[in-house]
Point group: C2
Chain length 200, copies 2
């Protein structure tokens, strides 16, 4: 007796269930939703997936996601080029942009030091960061990593690495709940954390 | 100052956020996940969406989703053709199949009577059900609608409609939590409900 759907719809359910945050029931609900929408809307979603794979790249300077490299933030003449905010992921750039408290540049590391997942300093975009600091322009580096164990380890590592340089190294103010992800902080809390950043 | 992502990725986030059960944060998480997977896997998801739109249709007999019409259940010679189980949606067929308690046929109504959403008996596949009952084969109809207000209304409506016919009309045993959706019942509970079905 059949306990799975016919080929195509089960395939779609399986593919959706593989995405983060979607379980089998949620995937089934989405599959039947897509079965019900008109062809145009389904095509739009399918196209959006492939457009992202084809058009989105990483900025050669800051490592943020963008469609043109250098990205619009690195190219923007109104941004303060004396400050670089170091974050783990591109989505953290967006979280900080939403606070409207920061007008400097960014540097995306591409993760945090995490020995459990075999991520060491060599896997992060640290040499690129040091390269950017060689110019005289940069006077401050803000370490805006997630306030969890991996983020703290990376903050400590970078603080020691940047200590000998003639650059002010700061970190986000406490106020963010410890153990959480920066991505999920609300704008006001994250904004206050940026304003109240302190020396490492 | 930009507060949205560059075109393509924001488009993908918006498209995912439109799906049921996915909020803006979840959509962002999925978009970055897809950005990270290899092109092949993204292509597979995009293709699966369009394959479902192109290949999946509704069975001309029972109204279930399938790739061939009549569907494999309606065509299966081992199924008991004297019993028809009436459900609201194709996903309910799958829920009942998973219990392995039922070997008869199905009839998918395509919803339930719901005056608040302007769904009346005329919007459901009730004439098709009556057409199937004209053959002498069917001796029992099991009304397996969701145990909520709309499902109860539809059960009552169908029980009155089928009353004059020389057919046993049953409904799922109580045991299902009232006010919930049939789709979310666990296999054991739903299986017991089928075994213990009672006359209306």
């Amino acid at each position: 007796m059949a306990v799975a759907y016919d080929g195509a719809i089960q395939q779609l359910i399986d593919d959706f269930a593989r995405l983060p945050g979607i379980g089998p029931k949620g995937a089934q609900r989405i599959a039947f939703y897509l079965l019900g929408v008109d062809r145009q809307e389904a095509q739009e979603l399918a196209d959006a997936i492939m457009t992202v794979k084809d058009k989105v790249r990483f900025c050669e300077i800051c490592g943020n996601v963008c469609e043109t490299s250098p990205c619009p933030i690195c190219e923007d003449p109104r941004r303060d080029r004396s400050v670089i905010c170091v974050v783990e992921e591109p989505k953290d750039v967006m979280s900080i942009e939403r606070t409207r408290e920061y007008r400097g540049l960014y540097h995306v590391l591409g993760g945090a030091i995490d020995p459990m997942s075999n991520v060491g300093p060599g896997d992060l975009r640290i040499p690129e960061l040091l390269g950017r600091l060689k110019s005289d322009q940069v006077t401050e580096v803000i370490l805006a990593l997630d306030p969890n164990i991996e983020g703290e380890a990376t903050t400590t590592y970078l603080a020691r690495l940047l200590g000998p340089l003639d650059i002010t190294v700061t970190r986000l103010a406490s106020g963010l709940p410890v153990g959480s992800d920066l991505e999920y902080a609300d704008e006001v809390t994250l904004g206050r954390a940026i304003t109240g950043r302190r020396g490492v």
